[in-house]
């Protein structure tokens, strides 16, 4: 579809049971494509911030934001402009490292990507890495050859650059 792109939607919602279901349910019911959704506390007590990554053209995005706004527990919704937004994701990667040589190679890669080793066992290393999603993809690609045991990604969270808030 024309103008289709990935959007970063930031929403402030009441931190209440069911609110995630209301939002997620809306996406399935209206056939909107959702790539990821993260929820966590915000700067205000009782209010959570949701970051939704969704694909669609301008018309679909307009519907998504309008329909989100109709949910009573949703306080504010903003489609963040990609150039004026900082976006970060956290990822944990457990790599199979049976030999000393592999181990040191993996540690080197992790260092290049500013990742940290947060757990070690005789057979594995676990890397923690934060950054833009494509940076994480690149690291995963590199260590894939050694054998990845497990990956846990949070999906991106985001906010506007500078003084602006939603």
């Amino acid at each position: 579809m024309e103008n289709e792109r990935t959007h970063i939607i930031s929403a402030l919602v009441l931190h209440k049971p069911g609110v995630l279901q209301r939002v997620a349910g809306l996406f399935t019911r209206r056939g909107f494509n959702i790539e990821s959704i993260t929820v966590g506390t915000s700067e205000q007590e009782g209010i959570a911030r949701m970051t939704i990554i969704a694909k669609g053209d301008g018309k679909i995005l307009e519907q998504i934001t309008k329909q989100l706004n109709k949910i009573i527990d949703v306080i504010k919704v903003r489609d963040l402009e990609p150039e004026k937004t900082v976006k970060r994701e956290l990822c944990l990667i457990k790599v199979h490292t049976p030999t000393e040589k592999i181990r040191s190679e993996v540690i080197q890669y992790a260092n290049i990507f500013r990742g940290r080793i947060i757990d070690v066992s005789p057979e594995t290393l676990t890397i923690e890495i934060t950054g833009a999603s494509d940076k994480i993809d690149a690291l995963i690609d590199l260590v894939k050859t050694f054998g990845i045991k497990e990956i846990a990604r949070t999906g991106p969270t985001a906010m506007s650059r500078g003084i602006k808030t939603i």
């Binding site: 069911g18 809306l26 329909q67 706004n69 109709k70 949703v74």
Partner: protein
């Protein structure tokens, strides 16, 4: 005070004087309170009817209707009625029982996830986990249901919460940081709309249910008068503009009048107020009003641009926005602009008014509707069911006042007509209420004949009895080579005997003239009555097939007066251009 008492007290604080309900295990504490309370409770015979009755109550009165059902099957039975109210923006509060808080999630007896189940069909829903929350939740539920774009709200009430003590003296606040409906239209947009209207030569107004919900019929009539524009309505808009007014063209859409469908096709400016451009109203959207600039006024921003691209969107309450628009228009001189168009529209209307008088036996539905119109007065509230009966009413029955034509539009729920009439009669005991039902739809809710008898709710039920699921059979005839798969309803029941089994007076009517007389007598009797009207099963209503533009009607459109001056405007213009 305990939770159950607090619930009833909170309902009374919202000026609720009647609830439609059905008890069950988890509702025992609440019903024990109702036992001593002066809250009027009407025991329906199926929870679906409780929800439809609350909905009919709301549509007839403009107040929030209340229904109650127990947990599990009670709640699932309410669902159809809640979804019906949701699709038509009708304000109801549905109270569902729930298993005790400690059992939730254990698949306890009669447990169902009412909150999850009703999320997509409510404006909002609540589950008090503690009785202290009840007063605030009820107050908030009514506020949400009745304001902005109205809609249903569910309160899922666990059994133990009904029994817990609470302090009723605490202050009750509505705290909704995420809910602030826009009421006033943007002044700049209103100005732009006024300019567009003032410069249009062929305007049409399309009025939807929002005009009725916001009580802005007066403003609508005024607007039509100022700009000299004809008015078409959606199904739910029927009653927003008096249909005996010379400017009224009737309903638009799949089963709309020929005049409405053609005039919207030809207009150069469409002023849509409080409607959502449902596919049943627009036909193929690519073809819809293709010569027009569209102004769309609606209180729900999500409706604007959802189905149809609009040129001037205005988010706001129809009443406030129309008043501002009228003011803005008065500053523009529009007089005379539309004279030629209005003359053309009137001619078109005259030459394509549908024929309504027939002497045939079995009765033609057109004749039946005419007699129903003759037997009722303009204040009478009519409800319809779903199917051909509904579309015949929509097409032929002229509604003059808001809130006197109640029909399930968005969800198209068979079985709506009768219980909605029951609710309307409870809301307006002094007003005559007549339910027009199909034989199929009525049978889905016929058990509630017991309710109207026991509580003496004198509605008159007219069954348009064709022994078919007529609407579906019509589609089969038109689009499936007349293969009438499972749409014949057979010979039973005998509706007269059925009604009599409930102690409800009943009559069978088969000849022209009898409908009017029997209905008039039934209304005057002041007793619940059923009239089984045998109609011609072959009669079909012209329609726009799905996916087609509004002027591509199929089926013979019988017209009242044959006349030669029904030339479409554009053709006339073309001919003139060729001179």
């Amino acid at each position: 005070m305990r939770g159950g008492e607090a619930l009833i007290k909170s309902l009374k604080d919202q000026e609720v004087d009647v609830v439609f309900g059905y008890p069950g295990g988890v509702l025992l504490p609440l019903y024990d309170v109702i036992y001593d309370s002066d809250m009027r409770h009407i025991l329906v015979r199926h929870e679906q009817c409780a929800a439809h009755a609350a909905d009919g109550y709301a549509r007839a009165s403009g107040k929030v209707g209340v229904c109650i059902g127990t947990s599990g099957p009670g709640a699932t039975n309410l669902v159809t009625g809640i979804a019906t109210a949701y699709m038509d923006s009708s304000p109801i509060v549905a109270i569902a029982g729930q298993v005790a808080t400690g059992l939730i999630g254990n698949d306890a007896f009669q447990e169902v996830d009412t909150i999850g189940m009703t999320m997509p069909i409510t404006k909002h829903n609540f589950q008090p986990m503690n009785s202290q929350e009840i007063p605030e939740i009820i107050k908030t539920a009514f506020y949400i249901a009745g304001t902005g774009r109205p809609g249903p709200v569910v309160v899922d009430l666990p059994k133990d919460v009904q029994e817990q003590e609470l302090d009723m003296d605490k202050e009750v606040r509505i705290d909704l940081p995420g809910y602030k409906p826009t009421r006033k239209g943007h002044p700049l947009q209103i100005k732009r709309a006024a300019n567009l209207i003032a410069n249009s030569k062929k305007p049409v107004i399309l009025a939807g249910g929002g005009v009725i919900l916001s009580g802005s019929s007066e403003e609508l009539i005024k607007l039509a008068g100022i700009i000299d524009a004809p008015v078409v309505t959606s199904l739910l808009g029927k009653g927003s503009f008096p249909e005996d007014h010379p400017f009224s063209l009737g309903m638009l859409g799949m089963h709309g009048t020929k005049t409405s469908n053609y005039m919207v096709d030809e207009c150069d400016c469409l002023i849509a107020v409080g409607c959502r451009f449902s596919d049943r109203t627009t036909g193929n959207v690519a073809e819809f009003a293709k010569n027009a600039k569209i102004i769309h006024i609606d209180i729900d921003p999500a409706e604007i641009g959802k189905n149809v691209e609009v040129d001037i969107p205005i988010v706001g309450d129809a009443k406030i926005t129309l008043s501002s628009l009228i003011k803005a228009l008065n500053q523009n001189n529009t007089s005379g602009n539309t004279d030629e168009w209005m003359k053309y529209v009137q001619n078109f209307k005259r030459s394509s008014s549908p024929r309504t008088s027939f002497n045939d036996v079995p009765l033609k539905p057109q004749q039946v509707i005419k007699e129903i119109m003759n037997a009722t007065d303009e204040e009478t509230i009519v409800t319809t069911d779903v199917g051909l009966n509904q579309m015949w009413m929509a097409h032929y029955f002229k509604v003059k006042h808001p809130r006197t034509f109640l029909s399930s539009g968005g969800l198209g729920t068979m079985g709506f007509g009768f219980p909605a009439a029951m609710g309307a009669k409870v809301a307006k005991p002094e007003t005559d209420v007549v339910a027009i039902c199909g034989d199929g739809g009525f049978l889905m809710v016929s058990q509630d004949l017991a309710t109207i008898k026991e509580y003496d709710i004198p509605v008159v039920i007219c069954i348009l009895d064709n022994r078919y699921l007529g609407m579906v059979a019509q589609w089969q005839k038109l689009f499936y080579e007349k293969r009438l798969s499972h749409t014949h309803l057979g010979e039973v029941p005998d509706f007269v005997k059925l009604a009599e089994a409930f102690g409800v007076s009943a009559y069978r009517v088969e000849k022209p003239g009898e409908v009017q007389e029997t209905l008039k007598n039934a209304i005057n009797s002041g007793e619940p009555t059923l009239i089984d009207i045998t109609i011609d099963p072959e009669e079909i209503l012209p329609m726009v097939p799905p996916g087609c533009g509004l002027t591509e009607m199929v089926g013979e459109y019988k017209i009242e007066i044959e006349s030669a001056d029904g030339v479409p405007y554009y053709r006339e213009a073309e001919e003139r251009a060729g001179d």
